[in-house]
């Protein structure tokens, strides 16, 4: 015989009542759209070492949303959720924002792993998603109908690096320094397959992590093999660490080809504190200008107006492009705003000019990778110069 004492009864009552706090109390109207508000979910790393691909990108988009004001009578509200660039945090983040805010669309997706992890949840809920950071090919290829990407995907970036190298005269032997995390692996694989096609001879692949403090071993290894160019697939921090070690032993005389992660060469130069180290450093820029350039004045002002504490970085620029695309797509979709309409509108936009990208974004029913053209840049006498041909897909 089990006796239920008063205490136990109280306990159960508390548990029962507490459970109600967990149940979602906010039920938004159909598909996150009301007559005066559109809820856009920002799902991206807001904290952690990769917050640049999330928080900063979303901030750029937010500035655009605020500037747009009312679109067909509706204001955009950006609700952010932190996926911490990790699969295990991305899934509950996605489930939470969907269950509690029912966003019209989702934006962000700075990290590939987090994006892939949360994909089944988001596809199940049928929410269109704009990817402004993650590069893993699987996110849009094969095409799942709902995900649209506004940055280059890994295979394309790698191919771009290989194509660029093949335009440098007398360069056949290359060495690669890469991160072997999710970000790096995707691009490295893209590069390797393109390198094969371009007939390049990859002498070695050296590894670094984001936290590697010293790249002496990597630089020496590479030097001992006498490459004619070096490819780096690294975040800005390890790029600097590597370049320092490379400069120490004279490797910086060789062409070094960097990556979208370091598209702001001026910023790199200000932080590396080594004159001459960047003389032959070419990098891919997704945007047609860098934050410090004169062409950036308007954008800088825009950001300052709506987010006075932010300083413009290349990541904000990606967010601005994404924001502009979304605002335009919403406008074009008209008053009767549904997700299906939004997807159809996007798919019809085959030449949307943003204020930051060198080429217009282009989508179609079968192609959800909108980004078409990247530039190579180099720093000469303190100015960022575009180099060689731009690369179309």
């Amino acid at each position: 015989m089990i006796k239920f004492s008063n205490f136990v009864k109280k306990l159960y009552l508390i548990l029962f009542l507490a459970s109600f706090t967990l149940v979602s109390t906010q039920v938004y109207a159909n598909q996150g759209v009301t007559k005066d508000k559109i809820v856009i979910g920002g799902l991206s790393p807001l904290t952690g070492p990769n917050y640049i691909y999330g928080q900063l990108v979303l901030n750029g988009a937010e500035a655009v949303f605020k500037e747009a004001g009312l679109i067909n009578g509706r204001k955009i509200e950006l609700a952010k959720e932190d996926d911490q660039c990790k699969g295990e945090a991305a899934v509950p983040a996605a489930k939470k924002i969907i269950a509690e805010r029912n966003p019209f669309i989702l934006l962000g997706f700075g990290c590939s792993n987090a994006t892939l992890a949360s994909m089944p949840t988001i596809l199940e809920a049928g929410i269109p998603s704009i990817v402004a950071g993650a590069t893993n090919d699987l996110i849009t290829t094969p095409n799942n109908g709902l995900y649209f990407r506004v940055v280059m995907k890994a295979s394309e970036e790698g191919a771009m690096q290989a194509k660029f190298v093949s335009t440098i005269p007398n360069v056949k032997k290359v060495a690669v320094v890469t991160q072997k995390d999710a970000w790096g692996t995707a691009k490295w694989e893209g590069f390797m397959s393109a390198a094969k096609l371009a007939g390049l001879n990859v002498l070695t692949v050296e590894e670094m992590t984001v936290e590697t403090a010293d790249a002496t071993a990597q630089a020496l290894k590479i030097k001992s093999l006498n490459p004619e160019a070096i490819i780096t697939i690294l975040y800005p921090k390890p790029t600097i660490v590597f370049l320092r070690s490379a400069h120490q032993i004279g490797l910086t005389k060789l062409p070094i080809i960097g990556h979208t992660s370091v598209s702001d060469v001026k910023d790199l130069d200000s932080k590396i504190n080594l004159p001459g180290a960047l003389d032959n450093f070419y990098t891919i820029s997704l945007t047609s200008f860098s934050p410090g350039d004169p062409e950036a004045t308007k954008t800088t002002a825009l950001l300052k107006k709506h987010l006075p504490n932010e300083e413009l970085t290349q990541y904000h620029l990606w967010g601005i492009a994404a924001g502009e695309l979304i605002v335009e797509a919403i406008k074009k979709s008209g008053n009767d705003l549904t997700r299906k309409k939004f997807v159809e509108t996007l798919q019809s936009m085959n030449s949307f000019k943003t204020s930051v990208y060198p080429a217009p974004l282009s989508f179609s029913k079968t192609d959800h990778d909108g980004y078409e053209m990247g530039l190579f840049t180099v720093l000469k006498n303190g100015n960022v110069i575009k180099v060689g041909t731009s690369f179309k897909k």
């Binding site: 699969g87 295990e88 899934v91 489930k95 509690e100 995707a186």
Partner: protein
């Protein structure tokens, strides 16, 4: 008089049932997010329990759990995806694989002590993470491995994995409670605090360490397997050492040394983790501050804090409620040993022991008769403690021969010697601070335990045996006069009291021989007298043969039948106490050659 500890097994079971019902009801009213988080709570409970077993109960600082978790997850994925084994079976295979890896951890813990073990496990975690990243085909590397959600015949994928996690968690909790509230839990308490004394209590430390790591790794492996099903994506970053910190925080927050502590810690931490999402970019600050405050305010963990206020919620530490037993139910009965053709219980022949060139023991020969109280005295450094340590198996001897109860002792481990019927007390009080007095005394029953494994399912034989042991323990405590203190923690007593408890512990192992290493050390005069009386009782009423190493000559001379004197490792006299007092050589040994 504080015999009644306010807890009740039935009360606890009711809480358990309520929690189960509540958990069962979740899929009916919760949204997908809550359902997901609840499933993660179960996985975290498993991880917390697994880590608590090793860290809280057994006191081993293991930082490798996240690696084991990872091995469980990746191996389950391989069984499920590559070998196409049904999901539920894959989870168990994955858990077995993890248990297998746990053997390596057990080996490390035997080899390394405490802090270094912690660092070694940290290194193991880093290396495992490196393996997960560079594992190629086996782990799919840094890019992650999407796992299709498993299908369950009777439920949708989300609900199915929830219920599976629920069932597994409850079984593990039940199992954990059963094994820790009994002899296994007590052995862990001994391991955590008095590892050096374990052998003498009949505990095989190596076996125990392997056991705890295998069990704990199995549970962590289960958690990993479940993660594969609920997250649907395997990413090496999930098994980065930073997550070891999260698991560690769960255990510390909830409370070490209790199964429900792990439960509470897991629920609170997982809940907090999700709750701070509301603070967006500031969540780290908020979470860190809350955790810091909680830890400062509740140094014994949340569960420890709650149970201090509401002792009824304390989880059961015995299979039965000791307050239900009276000590007079069971008189301690000893049978005098019948040895054929031999009156010598202990035979020591020309035994020597060297410590790096110093002869600690130099060709000692002794015979100790059954029923004797044999004192051993000598100045500092004469080898008394070494001698006792050799007899109890704590250290080995180099030459000579020792026989106890007719069995030759040639470097057999101390737990085997304990099983022969040799019990000992220690100079510096070896009671575990993790256990209370009653549990410490119950440790003495380890050598006689026959149905310990039955604790897992609370078998009839086990319950019967526990009942007997508890009654005997209470009787033993009454015998030494410490019955009023049974619920005090092992280290909350005075020196004299601890010594008496040690003796009680010795008594219930039903020893033939007791080795008392300086029983009067650190005792006040009053307690020395009490100890004397108890020792005499041991011999007269229980027929125990006693070897007594002592400095307090008054004690030794008064109660010994025979006294041996050591000096510089040599035996210089062995005769009756009266004669020993007169011997010049003894006086010289103590006082030197000066005239007094």
């Amino acid at each position: 008089m504080n015999h009644a500890l306010p807890y009740s097994l039935i009360f606890h079971r009711s809480i358990y049932i309520f929690l189960a019902l509540f958990a069962f009801s979740i899929p009916f009213w919760a949204n997908k997010y809550i359902l997901y988080v609840s499933t993660i709570v179960f996985i975290n409970i498993l991880l917390a329990v697994s880590l608590n077993l090793v860290m809280g109960f057994a006191g081993q600082l293991s930082l490798a759990h996240v690696a084991i978790y990872g091995f469980g997850a990746y191996s389950t994925a391989n069984f499920y995806i590559v070998l196409k084994i049904p999901f539920m079976i894959s989870i168990f295979f994955g858990a077995f694989f993890s248990a297998f890896v746990g053997i390596f951890l057990g080996f490390l813990s035997i080899r390394l002590k405490q802090f270094y073990f912690g660092i070694a496990t940290l290194s193991f975690t880093m290396l495992s993470h490196w393996f997960f990243v560079h594992g190629g085909q086996i782990t799919n590397g840094a890019s992650g491995w999407p796992i299709p959600k498993p299908d369950f015949i009777i439920a949708s994928s989300h609900n199915g994995i929830f219920y599976l996690s629920l069932v597994i968690t409850f079984i593990v909790l039940w199992f954990g409670l059963n094994i820790t509230a009994g002899p296994f839990g007590r052995r862990l308490g001994a391991l955590a605090d008095i590892e050096n004394a374990c052998g003498n209590l009949g505990i095989n430390i190596k076996k125990l360490k392997f056991e705890i790591f295998i069990i704990s790794s199995f549970i962590a492996g289960l958690a990993g397997g479940l993660l594969t099903g609920v997250l649907g994506f395997l990413d090496p970053e999930t098994f980065h050492f930073v997550n070891t910190i999260i698991q560690f925080l769960m255990v510390v927050l909830g409370g070490l040394n209790s199964i429900f502590g792990g439960l509470v810690g897991a629920i609170v931490l997982t809940g907090l983790w999700e709750w701070v999402r509301a603070f967006e970019g500031l969540w780290e600050i908020v979470l860190g501050t809350i955790l810091l405050l909680l830890m400062i305010l509740t140094p014994y963990g949340l569960y420890g804090f709650i149970t201090r206020k509401y002792p009824k919620l304390r989880e059961p530490r015995y299979a039965l409620n000791p307050s239900k037993f009276k000590s007079e139910n069971n008189q301690i009965n000893y049978q005098k040993i019948k040895l054929e053709n031999s009156q010598n219980l202990i035979l020591v022949e020309n035994v020597s022991k060297n410590f790096g060139g110093v002869k600690a023991i130099d060709k000692i020969s002794l015979k100790i008769k059954e029923g004797e109280i044999h004192g051993i005295i000598g100045p500092n450094g004469s080898g008394k403690s070494t001698f006792i340590n050799i007899l109890s198996g704590a250290i080995t001897f180099d030459d000579g021969n020792i026989e106890i109860c007719g069995k030759k002792l040639r470097n057999i481990p101390s737990y085997e010697i304990a099983k022969l019927g040799v019990s000992r007390t220690f100079q510096n009080f070896r009671l575990s601070s993790k256990l209370n007095v009653l549990e410490n005394v119950l440790l003495g029953s380890t050598v006689r335990q026959k149905h310990g494994k039955g604790a897992i399912i609370r078998s009839h034989e086990f319950i019967k045996e526990e009942k007997k042991f508890i009654e005997e323990a209470l009787s033993a405590l009454e015998f030494v006069g410490m019955l009023d203190f049974i619920y005090s923690k092992g280290n909350e007593l005075s020196g004299g009291q601890m010594r008496l408890v040690e003796m009680a512990r010795g008594i219930i192992s039903k020893p033939k021989i007791m080795l008392l290493d300086e029983p009067a050390a650190g005792l006040s005069i009053k307690h020395v007298d009490t100890a004397s009386k108890v020792i005499l009782k041991l011999k007269n009423e229980l027929g125990v043969t006693i070897i007594l190493v002592e400095h307090v000559l008054r004690l030794v001379m008064n109660i010994s039948n025979k006294v041996s004197v050591l000096n510089s490792g040599k035996l210089i006299a062995s005769t009756s106490p009266e004669k020993v007092k007169e011997l010049a050589v003894v006086k010289e040994a103590y006082l030197g050659r000066r005239k007094i």
